[in-house]
Structures are given as C-alpha cells and as structure tokens.
C-alpha cells in the first residue's frame, strides 16, 4: 500500500520532471560514467580478491612474521575510513613527489616517475578502493578457509602434498562455496562505494551526473538517473551471483535446485499438460 502510494505520488508530482530524467538517462556523459564505474568496480574487486586471498593464506601461516604482516595490513586498512584512504592516495604526491623503483637506501634507481603523472585520479581510486577491499576480502577468505573440514588437509598431507599446494588444489576450491556469497555482496557494495571516487574527480557515474547538474541545476533528476543506473547494475550483479553460487555448490549436493527460469518453464509446461 505504502509502495503503491509512493509510486502514485512520484508519477503525479510534476516537479519530478520525469521527462528530464528520460533525456539524460542515455546521455553520452552518463554512459561514460557508467563505463568508468564498472571498470573501477571490476579492477578494485580483482585487486581486493587477489590480495585478500593472499592475505588470508598469510594470516594462517605458521610463520609468525608472515601472519603478523597480514594482521597489520588488515588492522590498518580496516581501521581507517576508505574516504580518507582515497584522499591519501590522491594527495600522495605531496608526500612523495617522485616515485621510483630501485634498490632502497641509496642504491641504483631502475625507473623513476613524477608521482602526479603516475597516480592519476583513476589510479588513486583503484588503489584506494582495491587495497581497502583486500582487507575485508582477507577476513572473508579466512572464514572460508577455516570452514573446510580439517580432514581434507590431513588427507592431502598424508598423500605427500605441501601447504601451498593443499591450499590451492584442495582447500580454496572448497572454501569458494563459503567465500562467494559475501564476495557478491562486497561487489555490490563496491559498485556503490565507488561513488566516493567522485570526491577525487574521477568521472564515474555520480561525478558525471554532478558535472551535468552543476551546469543545468536539474539536481534531483540527475541523481535519479544515477540511481536508476546503480539499481540496474546491482540487479545484474545479483543475478550473476546466483548462478556463480550454483556453480560452486557442485559436489556438495546431489541435485542442484532449479533456476528461476527453469521453474517458470516447468510451471508453463505443467500447465499445458493439465489442459
């Protein structure tokens, strides 16, 4: 009832100017923003997942130095706001005007670049979001690894396999079932968190909308445009998540539950037979 009332009031309030929303929905600047938002989300998540899994494996290492380093990383990147981290990467040239690769403590320099040229706003956003995400993914991956029965590790050990081999071949594939659902949530959350990159002038979806309404003052309409795109993208991600989860459930249950599409198809077929 409330939802219906809201839709009714939204549709009949002329101040919403739905026409303007329609005009800008497929504006080239908005579409470019959508593309950059997707790129930012994908790259940041890939960095987050790869580093997160590495951090989780390090965290569970018997070597206290290795697990300590991982703990320190997670402590720092989870303990400070991601917005602060983004700004930090954006302004890093103030701290280190020149970045170089070489032997530390006065050794020869192999490559060197001006920090401002190297770390463009987009790079700063990717680093900030990706490295922050890694800390969260590390905890998710660790929970997944710990959820795998210890008998699996023992069986692999008794066959002569070694720690990293066991992790890669036996434990991580099984941990995936536990890791995937929260990773889907993280991806959806990342898609929205990437809007923070607007603060450091990355022309992703939100900043693209802001650039337009700062000129034409159609603030609400452009925010609605951005929201429609965010909703569309999160919806697609949720559907993708469902199928990935199904894939990794293989081996644990004898029969996979039907997908929604299959359910509909069967329902239609059953009805036809009824007639």
């Amino acid at each position: 009832m409330i939802a219906a009332a809201l839709i009714y009031s939204g549709a009949n309030n002329s101040r919403f100017q739905w026409g303007v929303v329609g005009d800008f929905l497929f504006d080239s600047r908005i579409l470019r923003g959508v593309r950059i938002t997707i790129e930012l989300t994908v790259i940041a998540m890939v960095i987050g997942i790869v580093f997160g899994v590495i951090l989780a494996v390090m965290r569970l290492s018997p070597n206290p130095l290795v697990s300590g380093a991982s703990w320190l990383y997670i402590w720092f990147f989870r303990g400070t706001p991601v917005l602060v981290q983004l700004l930090f990467w954006y302004y890093i040239s103030a701290l280190y005007p020149k970045l170089s690769i070489g032997i530390p403590f006065g050794g020869p320099v192999i490559a060197s670049a001006n920090a401002n040229d190297l770390i463009k706003p987009l790079t700063a956003a990717i680093l900030g979001l990706g490295l922050n995400e890694a800390a969260y993914m590390a905890e998710i991956a660790r929970a997944g690894i710990l959820s795998v029965d210890e008998g699996q590790t023992e069986a692999a050990q008794s066959l002569g396999m070694q720690r990293l081999q066991i992790m890669r071949r036996i434990v991580l594939p099984q941990a995936m079932r536990v890791i995937i659902p929260p990773t889907g949530n993280e991806t959806i959350s990342m898609l929205k968190t990437s809007a923070l990159a607007s603060v450091i002038t990355v022309t992703e979806l939100l900043y693209s909308a802001q650039l337009i309404y700062s000129v034409n003052y159609k603030t609400i309409q452009l925010l609605i445009v951005a929201s429609i795109w965010y909703l569309a993208m999160t919806t697609i991600l949720s559907i993708g998540q469902y199928y990935v989860e199904r894939h990794y459930a293989r081996g644990s249950s004898r029969d996979l539950p039907p997908t929604p599409l299959q359910k509909i198809r069967w329902a239609v077929l059953a009805r036809r037979e009824w007639n």
Binding site: E154, Q157, S158, L159, G160, Q174
Partner: protein, 253 residues
C-alpha cells in the same frame, strides 16, 4: 631384515593429557598388524604419529629405517622441513575413518591428484593406474562420479585406491569401517584382505575382531596409552593373558 615400523618409547601429550605413555612396537615388512583397544586408548593417535600428522614428544619412531619427521644430529632431534616431511608421507598411505575424499573432484581426479602433483607422474600413466586400482576395489564404473554420489563403502574403497596410487610401502588404516553401515563393511574389509594377501605392510586400527583374527599377523591391545598385550591374533583373542584385555574382549565379542 629391516623393520618397516619401529617405535621406541613413543610419548605424546595433548596439553596436560598424556595420550601415549611410551609405546614400543615393531612391524616387519609384509606384516599386517591390527591394533585394538577401547576409545581413548591412544591407538588412533599412535597411528597418526607414524606419518607425522601428530608430533611425538619423546621417544623414537622409524619407518623403513628413517626417523619420522625429525633428523638426528648428535644427541638432538631437529624437526624436518615441510618438504622433507611431505616426502616421507608420500611413501605412507593412510585411510581415514571419515574417508576424507576431495568432494570437489570426481573419483578419477581424487585418485590421480597426488601421483601427478606430488610425484610428477604423467597424466595418461596416472589414469591407467587409477583405472587398474579402481577395478581392483570393484569401482571401475564409478570413475566419473563425485564422492557425494557414492555410498560410504564405495567412498572408502576409493580412498583406499587413492592411497595405493602413490605406491606406498606402508598403509595405515584408522578405523576404516567405523563410519559405515553394517552391510557396507564387508566390501571394504574384502579390499583390505586382498591388499594383505598381496603382501602390503599394514597397520590397522579397528574394532573388527573377525578381520583381526583372519587377516592379521599380529594383534596389539592398547589401553590408556600403553601396549597391554600383543601376539598372534588367535592366541590373544582366545586366550588373553591380561585382565584388561579380557575385560575388553568380553564386551566386544
């Protein structure tokens, strides 16, 4: 003749609980030793010490003349590096109470995983060997199945084939039939009898008195972390000398 397993005064504690209080045992090549005892007697722990899944706290444990998990320099023992422990374990097969097959791999890949990844056996060769072993345990037709699609008895026979694929010189069985429905026990015991006839050296922790009597060369009775009695199975079973053995057997027979 070199002994396959030699334990000298093996001690093991979990925190303040002393589980093994000086185990001294010998297993000759080709021998089938069955270990009996009430739960909590330390028999499974001892078995797990033989392939270093548990570290021993005192004593010496040798497999095929080599110290398990340690290296002796002078009077002191130094723990081996992971890769060296793994190399020792690769020569010792183990079968678990709860099978521990890899659920994300089908039967074939369960069996060929270790030979190809650990020993570097070529894939075709590993597959040929796997078919042969699965045929031997009567599961040639299940090669593409996943563990969840098999009964407990079938899973345990795959686990036996998986261990044998590494061509071990010693097989350890940790209560291999305890998690099985009664009607499935027979097939697993048959596979183990076959293995014993083929001359495999085996240490079997079990509650199957019948198996111990027919297939075992030696029977060891453990209680409260010590070996109470050992000898020829028929002799120990029909004529137990120690009262603790008598008490245990009167309960299970």
């Amino acid at each position: 003749m070199e002994l396959m397993v030699k334990a000298e005064g093996v001690h093991k504690s979990f925190g303040r609980l002393e589980v093994l209080k000086g185990i001294t045992l010998e297993v000759k090549p080709g021998e089938v030793m069955c270990v009996l005892g009430p739960s909590g007697s330390g028999k499974s722990t001892f078995l797990r010490c033989i392939n270093h899944l548990e570290k021993i706290d005192a004593g010496r444990l040798y497999v095929d003349g080599e110290l398990v998990g340690y290296q002796q320099r002078g009077d002191k023992l130094y723990e081996l590096r992971e890769s060296e422990v793994a190399k020792e374990r690769a020569q010792i097969g183990m079968v678990f109470q709860r099978f521990n097959l890899f659920p994300h791999m089908n039967v074939l890949h369960n069996v060929i995983e270790a030979p190809t990844r650990v020993k570097g056996v070529r894939s075709e060769q590993a597959v040929r060997k796997a078919r042969e072993l699965l045929d031997r345990v009567g599961l040639a037709d299940k090669i593409d199945s996943y563990p969840a699609q098999l009964s407990g008895g079938q899973q345990q026979r795959v686990a036996i084939a998986r261990a044998l694929a590494m061509e071990p010189k010693l097989m350890l069985f940790d209560e291999p039939t305890s998690a099985l429905d009664p009607e499935l026990v027979g097939d697993v015991l048959d596979a183990m009898r076959q293995l014993a006839r083929d001359g495999m050296t085996m240490v079997v922790v079990t509650h199957e008195i019948g198996f111990a009597r027919e297939a075992g060369d030696t029977l060891v009775f453990m209680d409260e972390g010590v070996v109470v009695e050992q000898g020829e199975p028929r002799e120990v079973l029909s004529n137990p000398k120690h009262e603790r053995t008598q008490a245990f057997l009167s309960k299970v027979l």
